[in-house]
Amino acid sequence: MKVPVTVTVNGQVYQREVEPRLLLVHFIREVLGLTGTHVGCDTSQCGACVVLMDGKAVKSCTVFAVQADGAQITTIEGLARNGQLHPLQEGFWEMHGLQCGFCTPGMILAAYDLLQRNPNPTDEEIRHALEGNYCRCTGYHNIVRAVRYAAEKLRVQA
């Protein structure tokens, strides 16, 4: 059985026929060729696969592509505007919020979800919001600083 899906990813509409068992992360990576979204643990724990679905952070390894039919998806490729990094991307750069970078796309999109509902989070709130995103390099300290940097920049811009 193949099912038609229409998914808007980073503002572009894609129509594809997919097997119902195709996971959203594989749809994004293998069908659309957007490999910024990573597969880490593949068991909805590590958060490497986090994307925004209708504005909310979700673990795309635990969502079927058919569930995203009609949805707006944002991946890491969709954050920069006109060659300008998003403040979160800039924050990870400036504050050394990554080392190997594998967790970074998911980390940034989970942080994006947080800053939408809480533009001025405390360090503790940042840590709680990123509880579902594992980083094995940084020790998290600079990730918290990166999110704080982005929050400040976004508040100034607003």
Partner: protein
């Protein structure tokens, strides 16, 4: 990891979903998928068909009907966690929801899905028992209400019958003089409860009139600590009383045991977490 192949059917109304389940009796119901999809990826569940109820509008939302709060089965953990209404009417539930998984998981997982799945380490079952919740199920034979005490039958097994869909959760509005708390020892990787204890106490003039204690994670299904509930009725909920009532409250026999937490350790956690939850609930009851 890919699940085994399955056929996919999407229902836009409850009636459509019931019809689809009648046509495809082997199908499983898909809501947020955060209990079912992991099982399918591990091939522990291989349903030949899924009926996706995730878009059925009538299964969403939180409303109040007199002394009862009605929560649609598709309400996500995130919606429960941040619901201003629930924080007023039944604040135990937002406290419990904030402990489930992590924020992206809470964005997808639903209260109905979690309850129908009945993972022995899920958080909500403890709260449902402590609250004396009622589950509404709709099936080919009409609708029926199932008390939480009769709902959780065993490991991944509930009182729901084939063809039935859990549509609503009914919980009481927690009034003045009522205290609540949820204490959890999460597994550090999965965030599931190694043991989780939900408590609701009703206190009058400093005396406990009723205590309800629901425990998850410890046994193959969530259960009530009725021995502790009875021991506390009519007593002051001070530390010494609570300590005496919770000591050795659960026997390790029949509890879950794994390399991370033995049955004896789970029994110990039951006592510690029940004590903490009771003392915090008593403080809130005033």
């Amino acid at each position: 990891m890919y699940p085994a192949s399955f056929n996919y059917y999407r229902a836009m109304t409850l009636q459509e979903a019931l019809n689809l389940l009648r046509q495809h009796p082997e199908a499983k119901v898909l809501a947020g998928g955060h209990s079912l999809i992991p099982l399918m990826k591990l091939r522990l569940a291989n349903p030949p068909a899924l009926v996706d109820i995730g878009r059925i509008a009538e299964l969403k939302g939180i409303r109040r009907a007199d002394g009862t709060v009605v929560i649609g089965a598709l309400t996500t953990h995130r919606e429960v966690e941040f619901s201003e209404e629930l924080k007023q009417w039944c604040p135990l539930l937002p406290e419990v929801a904030a402990h489930i998984g992590d924020p992206p998981v809470r964005n997808m997982g639903t209260i109905g899905g979690s309850l129908a799945h009945a993972d022995p380490a899920a958080d909500y079952p403890a709260a449902m028992l402590a609250l004396g919740a009622t589950m509404k199920a709709v099936g080919p034979g009409g609708e029926r209400m199932i008390a939480a005490d009769e709902f959780f039958l065993g490991m991944l097994t509930t009182a729901l019958q084939p063809g039935e869909i859990l549509t609503e959760v009914h919980v009481p509005v927690l009034g003045k003089g009522t205290g609540w708390a949820y204490e959890k020892f999460p597994h550090p990787a999965s965030r599931y409860a190694v043991v989780g204890v939900a408590v609701v106490v009703r206190v009058e003039n400093g005396i406990c009139r009723e205590a309800r204690i629901g425990i998850t994670g410890a046994a193959p299904r969530a259960f009530r600590a009725t021995n502790v509930e009875q021991a506390l009725a009519g007593k002051r909920l001070d530390e010494a009383t609570v300590r005496a009532a919770t000591e050795n409250m659960v026997s390790p026999e029949g509890l879950l045991s794994d390399p991370f937490a033995s049955a004896a350790y789970r029994a110990h956690l039951c006592a510690v977490l029940t004590r903490r939850a009771l003392l915090r609930a008593a403080e809130r009851a005033g």
